[in-house]
């Protein structure tokens, strides 16, 4: 039992705006990195080339030239990928219930990744990156697997949330609550 049940209940029911964004950012970077690494290794293993996924993403900015242009397009592809990944992870962090367990986050993350895959593949790509859409249709299973890896990476959300909020709690305890203890 917590020594300060009221305080803890109060903390758990807070909207947590900044923390949600911070957790979303961190889990987005983590899950996005896992997804990108998985896809790059998969393409390389299939004989397609390690940097093809990044170049495909960069087609959104540079068109088909991104498949043959110098390395800066790879950097641009990585930036676009992580921006998208973090944006989706912040939404996930905002909708995942407070106090959700790692197990809940795993299944929620996998279900969420299927939703992200559907929206990105059939809602976003045809409008913003037609060339990538064609290439994803060429090998759709690997794109879906990549999103599963992303969903699996979102597993870190509750743990990150606890770590970040834990820091907040202890600092508040030090500043406000400790003086009230006998």
């Amino acid at each position: 039992m917590s020594r300060f049940p009221e305080t803890r209940r109060h903390e758990l029911s807070q909207p947590l705006g900044g923390t949600k964004v911070a957790v979303g950012f961190l889990s987005g970077v983590l899950a996005g990195a896992a997804m990108l690494l998985f896809q790059s290794v998969a393409y390389w293993h299939l004989g397609g080339g390690f940097w093809v996924p990044e170049r495909q993403v960069a087609c959104a900015l540079y068109g088909l030239d991104a498949l043959i242009d110098p390395g800066y397009v790879v950097a641009a592809g990585i930036v676009i990928h992580f921006t998208t990944s973090v944006a989706w992870a912040i939404i996930f962090s905002a909708i995942l219930p407070l106090g959700a367990s790692t197990w809940t986050a795993l299944w929620a993350g996998l279900a969420y990744s299927v939703g992200v895959w559907g929206v990105m593949t059939y809602g976003v790509l045809p409008w913003f990156n037609e060339y990538m859409y064609q290439r994803v249709a060429f090998m759709p299973e690997w794109n879906l697997y990549g999103h599963f890896v992303y969903g699996f990476g979102l597993l870190a959300t509750p743990s990150l949330r606890r770590r970040l909020r834990g820091g907040n709690l202890s600092s508040r305890r030090n500043s406000r609550i400790l003086p009230l203890t006998p």
């Binding site: 004989g47 397609g48 498949l67 043959i68 064609q134 060429f138 699996f152």
Partner: protein
Amino acid sequence: MKDRGLRLYNVRMPTRRAFAVLAAAAALAAAKPPAPQGPPPADMGRLLSVIHSTHLYEIELGRLAADRAQSLRVRRYGQRMLGDHRIADRKLMDLARARGWKIESAALSEEERLHLQALVALPAADFDVAFVSGAREGHRETMDRLAAAEGTVTDRAIRRYLAVTMPILHQHWLLAARLLQLGSRA
């Protein structure tokens, strides 16, 4: 409260269980029953054999360009051709295997072999333009051939294969045209 705390902070057990469930799912997905091997229907066999040999030829061309091209863009174009045709050929073979069809391993035609030899014999300075021009023409011919064959294919999976492969060939054609347009700047 203590139990709740344990449930929240015990990360190891669920993660381990999750890995086990995912590994079991992956193993189930990977376990495909072996299909009996036999020849495909005559028309389909000819078509698949032509597509297979086209992929092999493009793979050889891509490999040659990835090694010999002077321009980095042309070299990357060769790598894209090599990679995409390798994947497309693997998908084709998987489709045939799933149906129990055995595709004859096609050798390069005399014309294709001569073209490859001519490219190898070219001086390095002339290689890029000759290769890209050839790739543009080659992809145009392949697209025309596949578009004509598409209407005759009744197998849905093969039709789907053609439908997703054609845009990739079109991308190769567009890239070749772009490289020729860039010319000496490429």
